[in-house]
Symmetry: C4
Subunit: 270 residues, 4 copies
Amino acid sequence: MSSQKNSWRERLHEIIFEADTPMGKAFDVALIMTILASVVVVMLDSVPSIRARYASLLFTLEWYFTLLFTIEYVLRLVLVKRPMQYALSFFGLVDLFAVLPTYLALLFPGTQYLLVIRLLRLLRVFRVLKLVTYLDEADTLYRAMRASRRKITVFLLAVSILVVLLGSVMYFIEGEENGFTSIPQSIYWAVVTLTTVGYGDMAPQSPIGQAVASVVMIIGYGIIAVPTGIVTAELTRVERRGTSTKNCRNCAHEIHRDDAVYCRICGEKL
Amino acid sequence: MSSQKNSWRERLHEIIFEADTPMGKAFDVALIMTILASVVVVMLDSVPSIRARYASLLFTLEWYFTLLFTIEYVLRLVLVKRPMQYALSFFGLVDLFAVLPTYLALLFPGTQYLLVIRLLRLLRVFRVLKLVTYLDEADTLYRAMRASRRKITVFLLAVSILVVLLGSVMYFIEGEENGFTSIPQSIYWAVVTLTTVGYGDMAPQSPIGQAVASVVMIIGYGIIAVPTGIVTAELTRVERRGTSTKNCRNCAHEIHRDDAVYCRICGEKL
Amino acid sequence: MSSQKNSWRERLHEIIFEADTPMGKAFDVALIMTILASVVVVMLDSVPSIRARYASLLFTLEWYFTLLFTIEYVLRLVLVKRPMQYALSFFGLVDLFAVLPTYLALLFPGTQYLLVIRLLRLLRVFRVLKLVTYLDEADTLYRAMRASRRKITVFLLAVSILVVLLGSVMYFIEGEENGFTSIPQSIYWAVVTLTTVGYGDMAPQSPIGQAVASVVMIIGYGIIAVPTGIVTAELTRVERRGTSTKNCRNCAHEIHRDDAVYCRICGEKL
Amino acid sequence: MSSQKNSWRERLHEIIFEADTPMGKAFDVALIMTILASVVVVMLDSVPSIRARYASLLFTLEWYFTLLFTIEYVLRLVLVKRPMQYALSFFGLVDLFAVLPTYLALLFPGTQYLLVIRLLRLLRVFRVLKLVTYLDEADTLYRAMRASRRKITVFLLAVSILVVLLGSVMYFIEGEENGFTSIPQSIYWAVVTLTTVGYGDMAPQSPIGQAVASVVMIIGYGIIAVPTGIVTAELTRVERRGTSTKNCRNCAHEIHRDDAVYCRICGEKL
């Protein structure tokens, strides 16, 4: 990409930021492994029984990963052309939050809960993956999601209003004595029911409440068809567009239908 | 739209009923905010702990919103050409029910539950949204739903009969000692199971009951495919049809893409 | 349809078996109403509190409906050309089972549970509906289901084997002390989980069990896509075929694609 | 297939390994029956009440099936051309594991749990089915799954990361006092909720936790659309492609329908 390829700076940049060279790929794989291992350590650290036993081992591992990520963060800051822009970018902040909580917990004891933030490290996997693999597949999915963005917003809006109204009706019917203690609580029940999750921590007791709940469930069962329909229709469309490979010789217009005889833009016979 | 644009009546009508002018848009946004705020107040008012603390604040806010909506309702009645027709229309009644319960609760104490009706205010958001945004998306969804209306009715009819029969069979198998106290109760269980909600407040205990329940679950898991298939097929069709309006003058071929300049079958310039 | 239209026999046959005449339609509507009312009576009869209060009213109503259905059954037997064939047909047996349990309960007291069979009356609604309405929609759905019959069988077979293996694994992992008392019981749990019903009457307690359960849930969440995909693909195909209205002038072959220029069977230019 | 058809070896090979002859078909059906019967015996053996009663009968049946499968396994080893390759193949190992546990339990008492492995016999049904029926349907499904393999991997990856982050957030919000005792436990909750299973063994108690849970449910309810969309789009494509194999000699147009006699674009006889 540039002519002074020999400087260590250029080479480090290539290893850390790109995935085309063998060294770059090896770095990416090692980074993903390290991220996943550090996430597992954070998780195990939260299990009381494991913590009681291996506290010092987990503590050592955590500092080992934190130092590794700190070195990586500093290297990225040094190597990148505009350090400020990187530091304030989404992934720059994720990189910072991946190391900050460990240092803060050292300075201010009692901020144990802050350590959960370290799990944001998991987001860093996305950056690496972005460079390496599955690019096309993720892109097709992303484009289909983006294209159906507005339809899904309309759907979620309708669902939200439905949930508020149904929850209020159930508050009115079941009342506090059956566990529907407030409207927000009843709306929570409506969400649990409409999405077919159904914990069972709140369930209608009265016959009328059960009848209304049945209607809610059947509605929820039915309208799940809507987002599915939206995404499917979009995916079919995105993929259909994606399979066209011919181009018009005259105007270079991409031919979308296999059975076209004339280019529909310039009229050239194909 | 008219020539006497200067009269206050015309201008107020434009602000309240239309969304094309800056003032009209600002009014719509303010109205949505007010509606949502008033709905939040109604919700919080139902939470015992919050009510105990902020009763007077919530009371004041409620009256503030009620007065605002009353003024708006009166203005709409005055400004519209046929006030009676508006008053009896769906949104006219919603507007009325948005303010009425607060006044009624003043006159007849003890009608606390009536206050839930105020949540119908939420429906007013739809009218505003109708004017402002997302029009096309909602329309596509609405058309797909309308077109698949009858198929979904057939499906729901079949599901209803299935649920009644399955519920009765379970009442017969499990009986009152396992919580299936009556046929309606067992039908409620069948709905909870078939829609994959699964509260767990009623669950089969006997081996035969569990076997039948397994069949019900797999049926429910399978037939959710039907409404999804209906809506998806319809959405794909509506979208395909929705973009094609022209026909080729020469060969009468239907033009499927808006950007076509030449017919792709006979080469005629469109 | 025939020339001796005046005989009472012909006219009764028309009223009971057909839905084209006003009288025939009125009979069908009245029959549906009666069936639904009798089903509601059977349901209410199973609710202990209602039974205690209105026992004699429900008893009277039940006999009223039974007599009505008996008369109808006898009339059908008399009017139809081949009474034996009708009596042994699916709907003939349903008609018989709709009245038999009431008489049996009279002769043999203690056969209360047999009364549940009366709910099979609900199936009679299908025959009436078949004549009246929604014919096309049910037919499209039925054809799509039929066409995807074998694919769905393969899917259900795979799901069944999966459920048996997953249930056995969980029996091995969780064991009797966590409620997984036997392999059939564990298979029941696997069905409840895979279909995303999730009663919660059995839930894994050990960390490994919860990890395996998580995998089961994600599999269940993913493979619900398969039946949906099958039915949707079929519905799209059935409908596409259904929308073609042109026919070839030469060979009367139905034209399936809007953009066809020549008939693909006889080569006639369209 | 060969000329020395009369040798018993050839004929036994045909019966056991092929399904074209009547004897071969009969053998396959008998084998499936035996496998299913032996699986039922293993299942019943795990039910405490049945085991207590019919221990000796189940023991006899188990040995009967084990001997049958042993004979079959030895015959396969003898008849196949490369016994070593068969013994180490997937189905060869399944055949071995189908008989081994019974013998091991004889030698080493107390290995009761090993007996669960015998349920792997169920996998043997697949080999038989592969020869007999439903081949095309399974193949279409398999191809659609294979084609959407990478997209589903991307989806599952995204879901996994989402589940870890959401679980951690809930651990932070609800804490140990509400049953969210560790991050892995909270991730388990997130899976149970996102997949809409909803056991109810863990449920958020605090208002904020319930609000976050509502968002998780609606996300789960929405993104189920993604795998469905992927599989549906793929199935539609596989089926469309599967039926088109010819191309027009004149205009190279791909023929989409098997019954076409003339190209619908240029009118050339095919």
